[in-house]
Amino acid sequence: MTMYFPTQKTGAGLAYPVYATGVSDSLTRAEPIITPAEVQSRYMKNIPTKFAHDELTVDDFKDQIKLAINRIELELDIDIYPVERTEKHPYTHTEYINYCFLRTKMGPIMRLEHICVRSANGENLYEIPPQWIDPGNFHFRQINVIPLMSTYGINQFSNSTQPAGLVLLTIMGGLGFIPSYWEIKYTSGVSKTEGQVPVPVNELIGLEAAHKMISMAQAANTKNSVSISQDGLSQSSSGPGPEVYKRRMDDIQDQIDLIKRSLKKRFSKKFLTGFA
């Protein structure tokens, strides 16, 4: 378990909406993780949950919500619930001379603990001063080390073996690539308020869960046609059978694809650096 301190680096303002430093609260953009009752009321109107031999229980809904969250985290490389991570990144000369351009593997970055050069035996050789770390693009998982400030000459070597770090930085200009060099410790998550998630993320969770639940619900509708006859009288009816909710599921799938594309655009960005 982590204990956070105010000295650690966070982006200005909110995690969502991105770039926001103030909101009016007149529109709900963040809410708790969707509940089973909300999945039903938002996406499963007129879909039965009780059948002749089975039923979809609250535990089934909770299970599908949990599965949906895990699936979305895996697919979009975002953490819906906050996760603290420690990653090792390579040194590449191109990125180094471009203000140490770094991208974390998961995001959005909610809070950065440190960037340091850590040796293979676990020794902290040099820690980037937090004042140099620009949090402006944390929501894109992007970290820039920009030592441009009025106190340009400031040095802060907390928890680091200072001379070793300085020597290492000095020789960097002559090296092209070191496969495991920077250590980035950070917490990723879509929200700075734990437990609250952006409404579009919640919508995606709900849609994913509803899609699975409706799929199970339509499996109960096994017959395409039924006919009864007795003494010359007969009655027959036909229907879509196990594809009874196919249209609804297709609609939901379209919405899922749309929201996923939007979230990828909001929380991820392809960015290349190179020589001009």
Partner: protein, 128 residues
């Protein structure tokens, strides 16, 4: 034995209450939260713990500073020891949605958790 709980609301007596899927907590006000012990191995029948039992309810968080731990109390110790209660002050806001229970009885300890066991309605909803 598979001890778990159901979440209760509108608890007026040990014969008069309703169940709910999760606790509903409103930020900015004190909240009394009730639960009933059940044994899932016995078709979710109520579980009557030992009279000396104690229960701790924890609302976890990734941040140690916002983790909440409360000691629950029996509501009807004479009539029905399966119903328990915790009281949150207006400053105590469960944030992660998860709930962990830990019960100590003379016969041994039991622990369980409820994912999505509490829904906290925040006052600031314009962003997160």
């Amino acid at each position: 034995m598979n001890i778990n709980n159901v979440f209760l609301k509108n608890v007026d007596s040990y014969n008069d209450f309703q169940t709910q899927n999760e606790w509903q907590v409103q930020e900015g006000q004190p909240n009394d939260l009730y639960f009933r012990l059940i044994d899932k191995d016995r078709d979710s029948l109520r579980y009557i713990p030992d009279a000396l039992a104690t229960i701790t309810v924890e609302f976890p968080s990734i941040d140690q500073l916002t983790t909440i731990s409360k000691t629950a109390s029996m509501v009807y110790s004479g009539e029905d020891r399966s119903i328990w209660k915790i009281s949150l002050t207006d400053a105590e806001i469960p944030i992660s949605g998860g709930v962990k229970f830990s019960m100590t009885e003379p016969s041994g300890n039991k622990k369980w958790r409820a994912e999505g066991g509490v829904k906290t309605k925040m006052l600031n909803v314009g962003g997160c």
